[in-house]
């Protein structure tokens, strides 16, 4: 792509006007020539399901059928509907094909593009009435969503800066440089009520104001893209689908606080996001949005990528800064806050990817417009990574104040395999669970805190009656113990002890004393740890203790796991009434603990079998091999 430098604001306005038509077809405008566009999802989920090969096949068949002039085929960012990937969208008619494989490429070209017929069997099927749905906006998954941070994901080609410019790209930057003093930018962001989307929920404008007040010849803007919460992937999707928004927002932030350098701290586990961001930065430099004298002003700003190396604690801002400086990612005591002494001891702001993606919209549409979305104290939208035991796994952006019921049943399509909803975990290893009783409270920062959970970065894991809550708490503790940096004692040793108690409970070896110690120790760790990681690590324990106390009691007093998850407490039993005495269980038992009894089976020549519980290793082989399904897990 040949990109020339945009030297003045007038040039940008002119370019913006000229490029406007670039997205017409994708936005649904039919044209006389009948040109069509095929957008293939290039997000990590779809990418893993061969979407790149699919795109190549589409191109190949377009040539073969002689329609390469009529149809433009490109990769876009994540559509969010990962459960049904790979996704292919055809414009201008917005036909939405799901689970498309490279083998389907020929049919799409031949039937849809050449013959103008819909490929029926690739359309999404509404699980409620089994009807096929033609276009994206009719699919329930999208109906209640409100896309602000994800506005360009699935629309623009993330490797083409012109498509970003065509959708109001860099106009927010121009507006700021032309009409706003730095303090006016900060006021606007403050007025919007935007709060940090990375977990803390601190007012973004205030954070900028603090950093702007400190005098220094060097200041930094850091974008925190170290998305460590396992099960959350919104930042990755934004960087993969719309890296330019984040770049534009960082430049605006730099102007507001008086910084000339930005760093994106990104996980090394996200190769695709790194690649797209690298391309985007290069294109932004070529066009002069990064570098010296941006848009003909005196303002200079550039962005560099810094790689993380797999440490959850680096999501904490002081640990992150320490990591960028080339050290172990250990947090330090605040104050001083990074706004005063951050990277290389200079004033620094650290903003999360999703937070930044909102900035251009706030500037362009105004703070009031943005503040119309959401609840009183939580403005705007939130992107959630919906995963776990839910039908529609994917990325959803919803207005603050929506209820969990709407997210699970309207957007998420209900619980997988028609099981019963048990709990949802927000905030990952730092958060807590939301139960059935709270399905109808409006989700925002303050409501979630009040019920012992937290907004967190936006991981939303749905659990059903097949998940054991003690096991889930143990899972999160294993994670925190592994990820604790080891600097402070409560986190390093305390969490390890918590994990030991939880392990005892799941093995049926714990007493009521252990249960009391579990709660006491959790509270001590919360109060005395150095950074956010340790202070929030016991949250999953406290939250499950509070809402699922009975489940803990069942493990301790009855030595019973209600969800049949904890293996040590599982017990296989042969139902004597069903057993036909075939002996398959005994033959397949790897530890020979199944014996023939002297009780006759249905066929009186054969005898029923019995499992000797003491030495059973609970592998379940017997149950799998029983032709009568007579062996049950208690």
């Amino acid at each position: 792509m040949c990109l020339s430098k945009v030297k003045t604001m007038e040039e940008l306005f002119c370019l913006s006007e000229n490029l406007k038509g670039l997205l017409d077809i994708k936005k649904g405008k039919a044209n006389i020539a009948g040109t069509m566009e095929i957008s293939v999802c290039g997000g990590t989920g779809c990418h893993a399901s061969q979407s790149a090969k699919l795109k190549d096949e589409l191109v190949r068949f377009a040539k073969q059928y002689g329609v390469e002039e009529k149809v433009k085929i490109s990769i876009t960012g994540c559509f969010g509907f990962c459960e049904k990937g790979p996704i292919v969208k055809i414009s201008p008619d917005h036909t939405f094909y799901t689970k498309v494989h490279p083998e389907d490429a020929e049919r799409i070209i031949k039937e849809h593009i050449v013959e103008g017929k819909i490929v029926e069997d690739l359309l999404y099927v509404n699980p409620l009435n089994h009807e096929r749905i033609l276009s994206q906006d009719q699919i329930p998954f999208y109906k209640k969503q409100h896309r602000v941070a994800l506005r360009n994901c699935g629309l623009i080609n993330p490797e083409n800066i012109q498509e970003y410019i065509a959708n109001r790209g860099f106009l927010a930057l121009a507006k700021v440089l032309k009409d706003y003093r730095p303090d006016q930018v900060i006021d606007e962001v403050k007025k919007s009520g935007l709060r940090g989307r990375g977990g803390g929920g601190f007012n973004t404008g205030l954070k900028w104001e603090f950093a702007s007040k400190y005098q220094s010849e060097k200041k930094y803007v850091i974008c925190n893209a170290d998305e460590g919460d396992p099960g959350a992937f919104m930042d990755r999707s934004i960087l993969e689908g719309d890296p330019f928004s984040v770049i534009e927002a960082m430049i605006i932030a730099g102007y507001a606080i008086g910084a000339d350098e930005g760093n994106v701290y990104i996980r090394a586990e996200y190769p695709l996001a790194i690649e797209r961001l690298t391309i985007a930065i290069k294109q932004a430099r070529q066009m002069g949005f990064l570098g010296e004298n941006i848009l003909g002003t005196n303002f200079c700003f550039d962005i560099f990528i810094k790689y993380g190396a797999g440490a959850f604690v680096c999501g904490e801002e002081t640990a992150l800064i320490s990591s960028i400086e080339g050290n172990r990612g250990e947090p330090v005591v605040k104050p001083p806050f990074p706004a005063e002494a951050g990277l290389y001891q200079k004033p620094t702001i650290v903003n999360n990817v999703e937070t930044l993606a909102n900035i251009p919209v706030i500037i362009l549409d105004g703070a009031e417009e943005f503040a119309k979305i959401g609840t009183e104290k939580s403005k705007g939208t939130k992107v959630f990574a919906l995963a776990g035991k839910i039908n529609n796994v994917g990325l959803v952006e919803v207005p603050m104040g929506i209820t969990l019921r709407e997210i699970i049943y309207d957007i998420g399509g209900g619980i997988k395999d028609d099981h019963e909803f048990k709990a949802a975990q927000t905030g990952g290893p730092s958060g807590g669970c939301i139960t059935k009783d709270h399905l109808d409270i409006p989700i925002d920062f303050d409501n979630l805190s009040s019920i012992g959970s937290m907004m967190g970065s936006g991981g939303l894991i749905i659990m059903d009656d097949r998940n054991c809550m003690v096991d889930i708490a143990k899972f999160y503790l294993e994670f925190t113990v592994e990820e604790s940096c080891g600097k402070c004692t409560p986190c390093r040793i305390g969490n390890k002890r918590l994990l030991e108690i939880l392990t005892k409970i799941t093995e049926g070896k714990a007493t009521m004393d252990d249960l009391n110690r579990l709660e006491e120790l959790s509270n001590i760790i919360k109060d005395t740890s150095l950074c956010g990681l340790g202070q929030s690590a016991p949250n999953p324990v406290l939250s499950t203790l509070h809402y699922f106390y009975d489940e803990y009691l069942a493990h301790i007093q009855k030595k019973y796991c209600p969800a049949h998850v904890c293996k040590a407490l599982a017990k296989y039993q042969i139902d004597e009434k069903i057993c036909i005495g075939c002996g398959k269980c005994a033959k397949n038992c790897p530890v020979n603990v199944i014996e023939k009894t002297d009780k006759p089976a249905k066929n009186p020549k054969l005898f029923v079998y019995k499992i000797q519980q003491e030495n059973c290793i609970k592998c379940g082989t017997c149950a799998k091999n029983c032709p009568m399904k007579a062996i049950v897990l208690l």
């Binding site: 989920g45 990962c82 797999g310 990574a385 995963a387 991981g459 998940n467």
Partner: protein, 157 residues
């Protein structure tokens, strides 16, 4: 040995081009691991020398981050995702199946140097959970049966 020297030269070249100081240590380690596939003692000493920092500092950083490894990895690295989305869909059973089948534990390498079994936390492909990656190639919706298929695919090679 000759081969190794070439690799060290490549690393040296990189350090010179980016004018690396101690602040670029993590970037240098990333490149070193990319070139040499792991970071044994000699590599850490080499980097410490070039960046003029104590070896203890390099060692401290290498051992802090889970991405860096001091052990030589097998030809095929099997990564089972143990992120939350994969976990609630039974990733622990997938890990167990690999362990049983290969006769090694998570984090170990088979004696013939063919497979390394390890885990990671969330590749972001939660729609495909549980997920297994072999040398970067992703296998979604893994089951006990796919464990067998995946191993067969690589065992022949």
């Amino acid at each position: 040995m000759e081969n190794d020297k070439k690799k060290f030269d490549e690393l040296d070249e990189y350090i010179k081009t980016i004018h690396a100081t101690e602040h670029e240590l993590i970037a240098v380690l990333h490149r070193a691991q990319h070139i040499l596939s792991y970071l044994p003692r000699e590599v850490q000493e080499f980097i410490a020398d070039r960046l003029q920092i104590p070896v203890s500092k390099v060692y401290g950083v290498v051992t802090f981050y889970s991405f860096f490894t001091m052990e030589k990895k097998g030809k095929y690295v099997i990564n089972v995702c143990l992120g939350t989305a994969c976990f609630v869909r039974g990733a622990d059973k997938i890990m167990k199946a690999f362990e049983d089948r290969l006769g090694i534990k998570n984090g170990e390498t088979t004696p013939d140097g063919k497979f390394t079994l390890s885990s990671l936390r969330c590749v972001g492909a939660c729609g495909l959970a549980p997920v297994v990656q072999v040398n970067g190639k992703t296998y979604g919706n893994a089951t006990i049966e796919t464990v067998e298929q995946i191993l067969k695919e690589y065992e022949g090679e």
